[in-house]
Symmetry: C2
Subunit: 336 residues, 2 copies
């Protein structure tokens, strides 16, 4: 069986869980533990990607550049990677972290907007970076649309394209169908990034491998926004049970969570991630978790159930930046 490559995002998506307050020492310790466990790519930086720290997204304890400088020197095998969302991160930000030791970048766009990644993917390739195209909210588009967008990213030079389930809204058969379709039409490898809103992250990741994915993601103890990511330890345990080759050692990755990450979370007085009713409804509705607060406010104002608002928004395929729409939807529901 072919080997699967694992990206751990404890230090990027997981940074939401510490309100982006990892110290440089925290990052170094966690990165060393992930590297020693055999993780192939370690994603670091602000939870919202390069330059994500702003009043909107929450200030981090350190800049991405400071984090990269602290971590790059301590890695023996893992590639250090960053997330770049065009519109938030700039090509000059990428150049700066590349000079500091970053070897890879994931360029992320909404699933129907690969076009906006053209410059960034091309610039990343020119810098010699391993470049991943990251199609977010992939539950919102048909396999044909996802393929069309993935082929754009491939044409810009992406080395891998990801079917990214940002809202944890995808079901196992859907993951299989979409990944298999990309796999059979793209020249480059396919990846899958899952969230655990519906409790399906581990199963979906395995389904993605079965459909042909060569790259999978996780975070230690599932750390991340909302219900969190696929727990890397559980994914590794299931891959091992299925005899799927990977570079990660099970005991070492368990110890990275238990002996390195959890004491750091405790020192920050941060709760450990778990599924809850908010994250469940986000996954069920298939909307961004940032909608929750707005939906609740709008629901209170119009005397409707916030869950109905979120589900309606999911049906309308609302995306980030459309928060005004939330009030309109609540209003319409109240009039029904």
């Amino acid at each position: 069986m072919r080997k699967v490559m694992l990206t751990d995002t404890t230090l990027r998506d997981g940074s939401h869980s510490v309100s982006h307050q990892y110290s440089l020492e925290d990052m170094k310790k966690i990165a060393m533990a992930l590297d020693e466990a055999g993780i192939d790519l370690i994603e670091i930086g602000h939870g919202d990607g390069l330059n994500g720290q702003s009043l909107n997204y929450g200030f981090a304890a350190h800049t991405d550049l400071e984090y990269v400088k602290a971590v790059a020197g301590v890695l023996k095998n893992a590639k250090l990677t960053v997330l770049l969302v065009p519109g938030i991160g700039l090509i000059e930000d990428l150049e700066a972290v590349r000079e500091a030791g970053v070897k890879a970048v994931r360029v992320a766009t909404h699933v129907t907007e690969a076009d906006v990644a053209e410059q960034h993917i091309k610039a990343a390739k020119k810098m010699g970076l391993f470049t991943v195209g990251f199609l977010m909210m992939s539950h919102m588009a048909s396999k044909e649309i996802i393929l069309q967008e993935a082929q754009k990213m491939e044409s810009y030079g992406a080395d891998v394209v990801y079917v990214t389930d940002s809202a944890g809204a995808m079901l196992p058969d859907e993951v299989f169908e979409k990944v298999a379709y990309l796999k059979s039409h793209l020249k480059v490898p396919v990846g899958h990034h899952s969230h655990n809103n519906l409790g399906l992250a581990v199963a979906n990741s395995v389904k993605a491998y079965e459909a042909g994915a060569d790259y999978l993601d996780g975070s230690l103890i599932g750390l991340g926004a909302g219900a969190g990511n696929c727990p890397t330890e559980a994914l590794v345990a299931v891959l091992e049970r299925l005899d799927i080759p990977k570079n990660v050692d099970l005991y070492s990755i368990i110890d990275a969570g238990d002996k390195v990450l959890i004491p750091i979370l405790e020192a920050h007085q941060k709760p450990l991630p778990r599924m809850n009713s908010d994250s469940l409804i986000i996954g069920y509705a298939g909307v961004y978790s940032s909608f929750m607060l707005h939906a609740r406010n709008a629901a209170n104002r119009f005397g409707v159930d916030a869950r109905d608002v979120l589900i309606e928004l999911g049906k309308k395929k609302a995306v980030g930046g459309q928060e005004d729409w939330i009030i309109e939807v609540a209003h319409q529901l109240a009039n029904k």
Copy 2:
């Protein structure tokens, strides 16, 4: 599509999570919320089943009979059910709770020992109870062996037979294979009970339905021993997304967890369940969670890794009551 019947075990398997200290009022409130949400069968009583309260298993705040008497009168639609492990629970215990309002029983044995359930299943049927055969640790036996044991239970009169994944050790394809095999050879319906040790409980439950299971289990917020059960809310959300008919309402079951169960857990100062490295290794190794403490003690004594001890025990298909073996295995590993 056919309808799936849901059993919620928050008040039985979940009672481990409150050290069996539910008050009668707690039980009543939770049972009413489950009933109103449309749960078909509500399992209550000591975590280890009828008569489970003993020095070995932990004393409960009330006897099973007291719990049954408190709850039976408040249910409108749900059937009240109990768990009976032959050797722990007695037929007279069952008769007493039946008189107090119990309508169903799950008679549980190790997957290879259905024989010991003969008297109990026959007695339950004679009492007019809806009787479920519950084959625990089903990951340890081949589909042929499981069928052979299931057919025994069917011949004793069981109305349903369950493939029970007590250790949360089964993988989705394995669940499908075993449930489908039973479904195609039994006359009675098949059920599946999952645990979330490997993070697969929701996916496995759906797989079981796809393989022909008519009965599935969960508990609110996954409450239960170790990593806990399949979270009923997440299961209901995924069933709804798949348009699988069921009697349970999504919002009501979410509210039962959020507004009824969680405040009770907080009042008992009990932590909410979550996966951890212990539960992961239990699921990976496929052993009873009660082995953990013994394995750790033996591992310390012989200077080996407790995880290696558990994995070795899993390979040897060790079952409950074989704790002496744990010391022997640790000793052997140390000599290697």
